[in-house]
Symmetry: C4
């Protein structure tokens, strides 16, 4: 075996561990990553609680550094182990990975870079990448199939809701007026959405009898039409019960595309050989 | 080709562009109209935000004039290109088109005609006319079919909700009384609707133990019976999955009726020839 | 035709008009009654609005007297036209009819009988009797069939919700304590119901971090399990779509039982001949 | 019949009464227990209402003692009548039984043991044991089957909701900031859950226009995706309508395992003979 082949084989293994989840090491890597992400999110959260940050500032700071360095190593390994690094770097997850790792380094250079800190919360998005694991239980995939099938209907429905809320919000702005908290049409539309979706904060609420009458109609409408998206998904779910679901977690070692068929041997996107 | 034929042919083309959406120009017209409507709605909204209006009053005013003139031209073209103009003028959309265009001109004559301004929000209703486009994806039609089929059941259900709310509201008026915010039966009924639909503003809330007990029952009731409209629509959606959906966007050049069958050559309403 | 026969025939006609809805006169009577009930409810509502009552007290008083007298006449006619008057008088609707008619007469004798006034709201319950009309559209009956079939499941579900709310309410009482508004276990249970059913008044809300954590769990739970009653009714509705629905509005002239089969000629309860 | 046999037979009968529900005595025992549990819960609730406790302290105290002694006797009988007492003592219900009985005795020894009092609310959990009765109506079992089948999907869905709430909460923390009530990321996540689940307390609500815009999106999202769990359960319920449900209420006299098949003669867990 030549040096170059050895090199490739070593990259092959790394690729399988980092990008896939059908070997023992690959699964272990995903579990460790999941734990690191969740720990990191809890750190970001606790840091924002002033009383906690005052007490344990040093502990939080050091833990954050450890996690940032771990994620940096992972980021570099991801670049190294793939054949077309730029495809990964400019992919959705590649950008997320960079953005969620960089803030800590920035805080070293720019002392007041407080606002970048929250970018670290983006790390949570990386959890979805690990959901490859969840795919094994078949549940999340079936959900996605039903959702994709009903995407168009739900979009039409939500578009419809927004239009109704704009019209009703404008009516309420005219009926209640600025003296009752409906200070502008956008605020009234915001109120109409709060009411229609049955959230009902109560920060703005109608005070005139006619306003309360219209509000009642909006509420009953909102209460009634919640049935529509539900009906859509229900009927799709019933259908999707008969569909077979793919559980192949392989990612192309060349272009990082996923969702290959169960018996795929070559990438459907770039045609390169998949890891056996 | 005679002059009269030329004239008719010119009207034909205009009718196809403005009223229909199965030619390239027709689709383009609809997209432009959609953008204009949305832009116009955003203008109406921003105008109502005092701080914004103070700063950019001139910009808002000029933009509004441009859009009003565009809509006026469209209105005139719609009248010109149809064979029976009065059918359009007194149709639902004809009235909407007029009402939503006129306020700006009125503000020219009557300086203080502030209240008419909000009429421009009606323009949003015109979006539904353009949904002819959406019809192509089949989704909105299927939704409408399921909703029409379950119309009677949902009406009975909402009627039932209103009756329950009136009775429970009256009971709460007796139990809580005016000192706890339930100042009259209509207000109590309003509260019952707020509670039953799980909106829950909290502007009025029960304070006596017995009132809280009744409120709990209303909430659990409302939480339980939301299942009913959902069940209705779900079962209708499941049925409608098997129905074929028409995607003909033609409108009769004579009487403007729509919803013709896919292979219709003559209007089902007035019998005149449809545009090929 | 003998005198007694004439008398019976006259009663027959009256019975058909008042108790049934399959003759022209019967339908007309029901529509008039419906209008009278709704008018009467609006009167009761407006009377409770102080500012309105002060202005139009005389108008409200006279209208109420007219409606009360009309309902009294109807009550007497109902007793006269049925063969077994006591069966009607002590039936559910018989008692409702009496209770909702009597308060106005009482106000004549007892000047301060304010509290009886609200009993008139019970008149609204009479609307359900007239829903015999609605039965024609078949919708309300289908709804009732699906609801009856899923009654047991929904009862178990609501029982389950109440138990969870009691346990979670008790936990919140311990966690948040009286200083945060959770003054007693019943109040905490009330709060848990408000939260679980996604009503969320906000009159009581958790302030400690741990309390907010538990509240989050309750909310997600409530958001998730609303699916259960919906699922129950959906699956029942799908089944009930195949069931035939009876639309016979006849009532037995002897014992006033309803829900006879479509081709019934004799009462299934007492065996007496039904009106042809 | 030897003495030992008599003894066993006596234990047999007791076991059948206490642990099962297919004899007349067994059902009666369950009903009495249900009443005692509910009475006891009402006592715990009333005790926490200060004004009530001040008035009727003695009555509450004596009633509580009576119920505590009754539950103690039941606890001892449960231990005596089973062949492997430790299996019961360390089972879930065994621990619940002990924890919910002991607080009153502790209050005798430790005068200030106020906090243990609420442990008595755990008694309510015992109601689920008696739901063996409910199993007869078949409803609760069918519900459980549908829920178990959709467990994985609902878990994935709730996991998804939590991730979205964390990300949206963090965004809102950045947008609204501490001056608008979003004091830390955990509080903002709590707010996002309150909004997404359409609870909407209103204790925290967005004040900046951009914050209200994001809040609107969260609400519409929450209103739309409530369809997902509903769709899941609906499709499972439809399936489970065809499943047969076991109504065997026997518990193994040796190891107390339940859920035996309808025609089971031996325990599927330890192999000992079930009561005929």
């Amino acid at each position: 075996m030549s040096n170059s082949q050895k090199n490739t084989s070593w990259k092959h293994r790394l690729h399988e561990i980092i990008y896939e989840a059908d070997t023992k090491e690959g699964k272990l890597f995903d579990v460790i990553l999941l734990v690191a992400i969740i720990a990191s999110i809890i750190l970001v959260m606790l840091e924002s609680v002033e009383s906690f940050d005052n007490k344990y500032h040093n502990f939080l700071n050091i833990s954050e550094w450890i996690i940032t360095i771990l994620f940096s190593i992972e980021y570099i390994l991801r670049i190294v182990s793939i054949k077309q690094p730029f495809k990964y770097i400019f992919s959705f997850y590649g950008i997320i990975d960079l953005l969620s790792t960089i803030p800590k380094y920035l805080s070293f250079i720019l002392v007041g870079s407080y606002h970048f800190a929250a970018l670290r919360a983006l790390r949570l998005l990386r959890v979805f990448r690990i959901l490859k694991l969840a795919r094994y239980i078949g549940a999340s995939n079936r959900l996605l199939i039903a959702l994709k099938a009903s995407r168009a209907k739900i979009a039409v429905f939500l578009f419809f809701i927004v239009i109704i809320c704009v019209i009703l919000g404008t009516i309420m702005y005219m009926v209640e007026g600025e003296e009752n908290g409906f200070t502008s049409i956008p605020v009234s539309v915001y109120w109409a959405i709060v009411t229609m979706t049955t959230v009902g904060y109560g920060d703005i609420s109608p005070h005139t009898p006619f306003g309360q009458f219209i509000a009642s109609i909006i509420m009953i409408l909102g209460y009634g039409i919640i049935a529509i998206p539900t009906g859509i998904v229900s009927s799709e779910m019933t259908k999707s019960n008969n569909t077979t679901v793919h559980t192949n977690t392989q990612a192309c070692p060349n272009c990082a595309k996923e969702n290959h068929k169960d018996d795929a041997e070559f990438c459907y996107n770039c045609g390169s050989k998949l890891n056996p």
